[in-house]
Symmetry: C2
Subunit: 211 residues, 2 copies
């Protein structure tokens, strides 16, 4: 049975390249190719594809947000991220949002086709070092660090003040450091905790602290 696939990728060249690769496989049919998340969200529900190849760095609605939305369909498609970004944050966020696979754009055509087939049968295709990062992450999880221990004392101070409703400038004043430093701390905190912003960071901190 042939699998229907949709491509969401803002770069026209790459979008058509992906579609072309898909067309080389007799068991795969590319039923749509969109440049934006908005477009995809509007048309994918009607197309009901088996698989969606999703760029992560879309203009407007991000690929991650788009994944979250698509996964709310009645029978959502399997989604494979296809991207240049290999940083842990984007990977985890995409997976958290419901992505089923994660390929780097440099993947050979055959890997792409295999991924489409694989994901449709319940697999979770990932480029090798993406998979590596994922397992590394879970390694670091179970052993000991409850993800909070990794936040340095100074960073915890910042988090506490954030939870008290202070803005960066005020936190800087209170700690006797510059706003930029507070900013840096927050940036690092968000990276470490794999969260998107200070709000989620505070929410997680509270969740851990109280448990």
């Amino acid at each position: 049975m042939t699998k229907s696939v949709v491509v969401v990728e803002d770069d026209r060249g790459l979008r058509e390249q992906l579609a072309a690769i898909l067309r080389t496989a007799p068991d795969i049919k590319c039923v749509g190719a969109f440049a934006t998340g908005e477009e995809a969200l509007a048309k994918v529900p009607a197309l009901r594809p088996d698989v969606v190849l999703m760029d992560i760095g879309l203009p407007g609605i991000s690929g991650i947000e788009c994944v979250a939305q698509l996964k709310k369909m009645e029978s959502p498609p399997q989604i494979v991220m296809v991207t240049v970004y290999e940083d842990s944050d984007r990977i985890f966020r995409a997976l958290k949002a419901g992505a089923n696979g994660y390929l780097v754009k440099s993947s050979p055509p055959e890997e792409l086709l295999d991924a489409v087939r694989d994901v449709d049968t319940g697999g979770a295709p990932m480029s090798s070092h993406i998979a590596c990062k994922v397992v590394e992450h879970f390694h670091g999880q179970e052993p000991e660090a409850p993800e909070k221990a990794k936040v340095s004392p100074r960073e915890q101070q910042v988090l506490a003040l954030l939870a008290s409703g202070f803005i960066y400038k005020e936190i800087g004043d209170q700690l006797g450091i510059s706003v930029e430093t507070v900013r840096s701390h927050v940036k690092n905190i968000c990276q470490k905790m794999h969260v998107r912003n200070r709000v989620e960071a505070v929410a997680r901190l509270q969740a851990k602290t109280s448990s």
Copy 2:
């Protein structure tokens, strides 16, 4: 023993007016009058006044933040807010920051002088309906409402999504409402919970939820 007082008020007219009132009292000495929080923070520690009359609506560093800072001195002055704002939020925030008294600007001169004397001897001078709001607040506290029950279902949804790291636009998408509505919800949430921003709101929500 005469009490030394500092005035922090951006409006020149009102500032001098306050200083003039203070000068009419033989037991009170106005040792400084500043227009900004920055100026006050720089010079108050050296002046070591007994009491500070603080405007709440200062340009730059807010009166509330200024209070928080001044209260970190070795032997901090007593601080009386003198302001036109009578909304609960500012009142609670100022008190939370460490303000000892809270007068409305329309207070008669004698009340002002009494407040200075009062606060210096451990009192908590407040204009009548300011005091009223404060007790009202604590009334509503103990009875039942853990301050969270007052948040409507929809608002709790928004809070939950905020805690998950979503931004307004995304929350709007997920709930099928406009960003402006999300904004409204957040504004109302902050009012109800007497918090300054969504971060503190989420922190409080978590604190309540987990307890």
